[in-house]
Symmetry: C2
Subunit: 140 residues, 2 copies
């Protein structure tokens, strides 16, 4: 972890912090409209683009993207995975991994144009966290 890493408030807010996978902090958005994970590489603040990562960091982040995308696709109802590094508003490097389906409220549009939020039922939120945490158990 970079000694300079401080998670941006706008990324942390409304998310469960699931810990670190490789060099990425893993956040799950508490929004029942979309199954939505953020991967936040724990690197220096000046690294604001995916391609600013050095080769080893880049490979590690790409591996985490792949693993979380695979997990996302296995969740009930997910028909498509959307993966993106945008960061026009919050410059701290973060990658969105989003499970989509043709009945979700933004379909077929992108979620970043959709401001609708709806917290999960607590039991469902815990269930998704457990499904994601199985990734770490498989990696052991």
């Amino acid at each position: 972890m970079s000694s300079h890493f401080v998670l941006h408030d706008r990324l942390a807010n409304g998310c469960a912090d699931l810990g670190t996978h490789g060099i990425c902090r893993v956040l799950l958005k508490n929004n029942a409209h979309f199954l939505w994970v953020l991967l936040v590489p724990e690197v220096d603040a000046e690294v604001t683009e995916l391609h600013h990562l050095d080769e080893e960091q880049y490979a590690s982040v790409c591996h985490s993207m792949r693993i979380f995308s695979q997990c996302m696709e296995q969740q009930p109802g997910v028909e498509k995975v959307n993966v993106a590094a945008i960061g026009n508003q919050v410059r701290q490097l973060h990658i969105h991994i989003v499970g989509r389906h043709s009945q979700d409220i933004a379909w077929p549009g992108v979620i970043w144009s959709c401001s609708e939020k709806q917290p999960y039922e607590e039991s469902r939120f815990q269930e998704i966290q457990e499904a994601l945490k199985a990734i770490w158990r498989r990696d052991l």
Copy 2:
């Protein structure tokens, strides 16, 4: 190249085809609003997600994403690079690499919510193609 690969019309339309980098067909959108490249892995049609690629293909595509993002960032006026694999409407796997700036018509929103199109002046379109083609020359 996969023997099954046929570039989808909706990806090809309105784009210049710059050839193949690694396993990706490289397309440049003829839209002066955004500096916008599509990388289309030349793989079987059932591969509709980035994480469906096998490990070698995945590494190759991630490398191309990195190289084209670096090139994008070097173009005049580009302040931020947006990288995304979405594919909710066209399932053929494709990755967007987009150079953004704070005066573009969709800023700070995402380009996929913006239907505005404006062809480049032909000389400018050629100039950008030449800048991108320098990637291949550097790789020799």
